[in-house]
């Protein structure tokens, strides 16, 4: 068990064939770089690109035995391979910026805590300072003061709880610019506290006012004002953007997957945040291996043409060259759609065949495992197993079919052997059917479903023409760029809906039969 390292930490390569042209080498380089930037340490190159049928059978048989082993087959043509040192070095260089980010992330929280402390201390100090500084001259106040003390205490408690609920939350994300409303509210609170301190200092401390009840009322009025500021905060920060005003359409640039979301009046950066949170649960996981087919086709279109300038260099040589290329390519395009059609038909057939084999294998494997009944537990234990061991026991019978299927649908880098076995143990524990186990492999699920490395704080860049703290408008567009792809977002205002009423009397539902009856007389 120990020498079968987890699939994710192996670097396995296809046995690269010698007769691949330079074009394919270029292709494999781009593939490596795209999966490297995925922040996922699985760098097993995807299976063979759409090849001729006769080539496909031989490499896959050779790869089946390499599952989970530490050997790497590096041939002479794969000179863009990634060694273990490179991987280790790559991991380290992302540590630095992450450290800095952690400090900056907690700055708003720290400021909020300081402000909270000030808010707590100010009314209390208003009450306590006169007692400390001129206790003999203060008028004793009776029950009215005590009532005020009580209300002050409770209001302060409520304020602190409410403030804790609203403000003392770990930040969801670090946004590029400051959150305008929060900053304004903090400023307002600070202003309020300063003005109250000013009044206190001038009117009460300097003149050493003796009317203690007045001072207590002064403190209570401060707490009231703070409670109202908190109400303002709730309305501005939480409630204002609940009512949907805009419908945003989010399109992923690599494969065009589109979703629509309804949002309220938010600034662009906050809208981007909401969209990202939805992205991880709605969009299917980004699979770079599925995109290389289109790129190779595009490369084939243009790579075959070379333009020679016979009449000597002119100023518009570049445009003339590109026009010539387009014209030649237009004439030449006749056969590539044919290729595409047959390739896709063949691929579909292969996927369906492998899927059928997989389903049968998994169903058969699940029949070997049965939950131990209560009565049987009292008998001497034969070979009882916990879920993990049961999963390991039945996994080999379906491993081959599953691996072949994943390779055909180019998902094998998303699932490591450990994760598959963990999922199998999970399904066995919860009495799931084979179909339930297979569902996560047959359909590409949302990014949340896969290992944590896929979606732990990623670096996203917000690209926008308008300032990111400006509010969303009809027709505003921005892009959320990640390292592999980008999400293009356009917003449309939800139109003003006119709803009119039509009153229907409950007894007005009367019916007649429209017959054409024929009576014989």
């Amino acid at each position: 068990m120990t020498d079968r390292c987890a699939f994710s930490h192996c670097v396995g390569f296809d046995a690269v064939r010698g007769e691949r042209s330079s074009r394919d080498r270029h292709k494999s380089h781009s593939r490596d770089s795209s999966s490297r930037s995925d922040k996922n340490v699985t760098i097993s190159a995807s299976s063979a690109q759409p090849q001729q049928p006769d080539q496909s059978s031989a490499p896959t048989d050779a790869q089946d035995d390499n599952w989970g082993e530490t050997t790497t087959a590096v041939t002479g043509t794969s000179d863009h391979s990634l060694s273990q040192e490179d991987l280790a070095g790559f991991g380290k260089e992302t540590e630095g910026p992450v450290e800095k980010l952690n400090c900056v992330r907690f700055l708003p929280l720290a400021l909020t805590l300081i402000l909270g402390l000030l808010v707590l201390i100010t009314p209390l100090s208003f009450l306590v300072l006169p007692q400390l500084m001129w206790p003999e001259r203060l008028q004793a106040c009776g029950t009215a003061c005590e009532g005020l003390f009580l209300s002050l205490a409770f209001k302060l408690l409520i304020l602190l709880l409410a403030g804790w609920a609203l403000f003392a939350r770990p930040g969801r994300a670090s946004l590029p610019r400051i959150a305008v409303f929060r900053a304004l509210l903090g400023l307002l609170t600070l202003l309020l506290l300063l003005s109250y301190w000013l009044f206190f200092g001038v009117r009460i401390l300097d003149s050493q006012d003796e009317n203690y009840q007045g001072i207590v009322q002064f403190a209570v009025s401060l707490v009231d004002a703070l409670l109202f500021i908190h109400y303002l905060a709730v309305v501005l920060l939480e409630i204002r953007h609940l009512q949907p005003c805009f419908s945003l359409s989010v399109v992923r640039s690599t494969d065009g997957e589109t979703r629509h979301y309804n949002l309220g009046q938010l600034s662009i950066q906050r809208a981007a945040l909401v969209i990202l949170e939805h992205y991880y649960k709605d969009f299917s996981v980004h699979n770079p291996a599925l995109l290389t087919a289109a790129k190779s086709r595009a490369a084939k279109h243009l790579a075959g043409l070379k333009v020679y300038n016979v009449d000597g260099a002119g100023s518009d040589a570049a445009t003339a060259q590109s026009r010539a290329k387009i014209a030649a390519a237009a004439r030449q395009r006749d056969t590539s759609h044919n290729e595409l059609y047959y390739e896709e038909a063949e691929h579909d057939r292969r996927v369906r065949k492998r899927r059928a084999r997989l389903v049968v294998a998994v169903e058969e494997a699940f029949t070997h495992v049965r939950r131990l009944q209560e009565e049987e537990k009292k008998k001497p234990p034969g070979d009882e197993m916990d879920p993990r061991e049961a999963a390991q026991a039945i996994f080999p019978s379906m491993a081959r079919a599953l691996q072949k299927y994943l390779r055909t649908t180019r998902q094998q880098h998303c699932h490591s052997m450990d994760s598959i076995q963990a999922h199998l143990a999970f399904c066995i524990t919860n009495n799931m059917t084979p179909k339930a186990f297979l569902e996560s492999y047959l359909m590409a699920g949302p990014t949340l479903q896969y290992t944590r490395e896929c979606w732990q704080t990623r670096q996203w860049t917000l690209v926008s023409e308008a300032s990111v703290t400006s509010p969303l408008r009809h027709g505003s567009e921005f892009q959320l760029k990640s390292s592999d792809f980008s999400l293009v977002v356009t917003s449309k205002a939800i139109p003003h809906l006119k709803l009119s009423e039509e009153y229907v009397h409950p007894k007005s539902h009367k019916f007649v039969l429209q017959l054409q009856s024929e009576t014989s007389v």
Partner: protein, 125 residues
């Protein structure tokens, strides 16, 4: 057979006298009617004007009293024994035709061919 709302209906009619046949306890006339003011007149295959809600003869049983008396399929019944049939419900028409104490019904029926005959004979003169 044109119908102008508010004006009396004018039509060329034929008088048909049908003697009811006694069949056990029932008196049968040997034809079927359709139409009536409570029916859907647009489905009437015999009427020229689809808003005409009159009573039409939809079927004649072979050899029955109606066929013997000369009733034809598609005739519009205007009167039965003096009772008007142009503005009655289907059920009222049935009742007027199937009174148990009457052995004979005298119908006034109209059809398109009657008008043509009259027009032709008028043109000859």
């Amino acid at each position: 057979m044109s119908f102008i709302p508010g004006q009396p209906v004018t039509a060329v009619v034929q008088r048909i006298e049908i003697h009811k046949l006694r069949d056990g306890d029932n008196l049968i006339l040997g034809f079927s009617i359709g139409g009536g003011i409570d029916q859907d007149s647009s489905q009437n295959p015999f009427s020229e004007d689809k808003t005409d809600k009159g009573i039409y003869v939809t079927r004649i049983s072979k050899g029955g009293p109606a066929e013997v008396a000369g009733l034809k399929m598609g005739d519009k019944i205007m009167q039965v024994n003096g009772w008007d049939m142009t503005m009655v419900t289907h059920d009222q028409a049935r009742k007027k035709l199937t009174r148990k104490n009457e052995d004979v019904v005298r119908l006034l029926v109209t059809r398109k061919s009657l008008e043509n005959v009259v027009r032709q004979s008028m043109m000859q003169h």
